[in-house]
Amino acid sequence: MNPARRILFSIVLLGMLSLGMTHASPLAAQEVQITGPLAGAPACRSCRIYRRGRISLTPMVGFSLRDEYNRSVFTGGSAEYHVLDWLGFGAFFMYSPVQLATSLTDEVESQGVTTDRNRLSLPSSDNFSDQIGSIDFIIAPQVLFIPLRGKLALFQRIFVDTDFYIHLGLSIVGLTERAHTEAGICDEATDACLASQSARSSRVTMNATFGAGIRLYINDFIAINAEWRGLPFAWNTSGTDESGSEDGDFPDGVIDSDDRISHFNQMVSLGVSIYLPSSAAVSN
């Protein structure tokens, strides 16, 4: 850049600079005051404080989603105490009294074939439903975070307060799976091999759980609750010999913890929340 152009460039820049500064300076002392009925009003006035300082008890029913071999139907609930309107602590508990086989399980039972190569995985196709894994119960101490609240209109007539929450916690899940087998037990089609198909073992696994839900408030102390929950953990859903050691020595001829495969287990639940005490505070 030649000297003349450099000087011109500097003058233009300084002009812009001074223009910006002269326009910026009066604003520093300026204050916008709103008058009228909304002056100083918060985003929500006279809001019902549904959660702060209250306990919520929510009986629930639910079922698992995206199941490969077995669907669990749950009953249980949650109990929470809300220290703030947007923060709560509590516990979630679900027990599964009903287990439903999926269509894939039915197909394996009707069309599965047992050979010398897969006898350990499928000693008998007729009894396949005896070897599949199931979720027995879920216990989850959890933190609730309620970032959103609002209201919605149903059919342009019914208006209900609503909030949206996410939860994060520790899941303690009770599982029943096919019991570990001894090496070589299904080398021949023996009664021991057949018996191993129905042998069950239970265990408890701990992992993280998270999810989200909404509550629709019917009145000050009753709300309808819908919730989704993710439960990632590894288990042997099919009771089959899926893998050996980390070196990949499939088939390793035994069914054990190496055959557990990571699954992103999911469930949805519906419930009715009851808040105590029954009256909700109202904000200013």
């Binding site: 916008v32 005051q33 074939v113 995985s121």
Partner: protein, 311 residues
């Protein structure tokens, strides 16, 4: 010289950052009703006396600084400040944030299947909806699945074949084209952290169209090949739309596409009949129930609209 240029640029950027703040001075919460109050006259330094009069030169500023908090607060409350005053009004009936009536909605999206344990499918989608009332629309939805890497067989299929010697017939999809009606029974607003308010609505959707699919040969892949065919498909779903502005939204939708699929036959004919195409497909069709999640944005045209009734 480089240092000089750098300093000049830094000052320019700093001034430009501050310059837009001037627009806040013109902030108006109401287009017509804004009234400006004439600021009280001040002294040459911009200070005011306790009664709103200009301070005498040499006023005791140091003494003011030594006042207690209570005294300072009382003094600040009693003294008028240099302000811009605007009047905010509320209305007996608040208007709906965004009207849909007589607007065209264009909705590009990304879709993936949710309930198929054997094949993971993804698709690019495009939806068009015309809103003939504020809650009802007629539209068209197009999904294209046939892209590289958009369909893949899951591990479950492999495990089932290995463990149970059971082949699960699967299909490949090319496209889906569906006409649909949309109804908005729910709308509302949410407040985030007691501060930000955003509008949203929930809708139900349903219609009819077709899927273009074909079986993937897994029982007898050496002989069998299949061509794409049209299948009549029905769809029903629910969705949630969040308004980012009066013409731009983000949406998430669960839609179940139901159609009758004829899978590959599990039986292989012997001899010459193995080459007979009529033996390649199963004897009967099965209902496929395919739940798809679609996530995308929508643009409403025209961008602006006029309310029928005044505020």
């Amino acid at each position: 010289m480089k240092n000089f240029s750098f300093a000049v640029w830094a000052l320019v950027i700093e001034s430009l950052i501050h310059a837009p703040m001037t627009s806040a001075q013109d902030m108006s919460f109401d287009l017509e009703e804004t009234e400006e109050e004439t600021p009280a006259e001040t002294d040459e330094n911009g200070f005011l006396g306790p009664d709103g009069d200009a301070l005498e030169p040499g006023s005791d500023i140091i003494g003011d600084l030594a006042l207690s908090d209570d005294e300072l607060n009382a003094r600040m409350d009693s003294e008028p400040r240099d302000t811009t005053t605007v009047e905010e009004e509320i209305y007996a009936v608040q208007q709906i944030f965004a009207l849909r009536l007589n607007r065209l909605e264009v909705a590009p999206s990304f879709a993936f299947t949710l309930n198929d344990p054997y094949v993971r499918r993804r698709a690019l989608g495009l939806g068009l909806n015309y809103w003939w009332s504020n809650v009802l629309a007629i539209g068209f939805n197009f999904l294209w699945y046939d892209l590289e890497g958009f369909q893949s067989e899951s591990d479950l299929n492999f495990f089932v074949r290995r463990s149970a010697r059971l082949a699960v017939p699967i299909t490949e999809w090319q496209l889906g084209a569906h006409m649909n009606f949309t109804y908005v029974p729910l709308y509302g607003k949410f407040m985030a952290f007691n501060k930000w308010i955003f509008q949203w609505d929930a809708y139900v959707i349903g219609g009819v169209g077709f899927q273009r699919t074909r079986p993937i040969a897994i029982i007898d892949p050496e002989i069998r090949t299949f061509d794409y065919e049209m299948r009549l498909a029905f769809n029903v779903g629910i969705g949630l739309r969040i308004f980012l502005s009066r013409f731009l939204t983000v949406f998430a939708e669960f839609r179940d596409y139901l159609y009758l699929e004829r899978f590959e036959s599990l039986d292989v004919a012997l001899g010459e009949a193995r080459n007979d195409k009529s033996t390649w497909l199963a004897d009967s069709s099965e209902l496929v129930n395919n739940v798809t999640v679609q996530i995308g944005i929508t643009l409403f045209f025209p961008f602006s609209f006029e309310y029928k009734l005044p505020k």
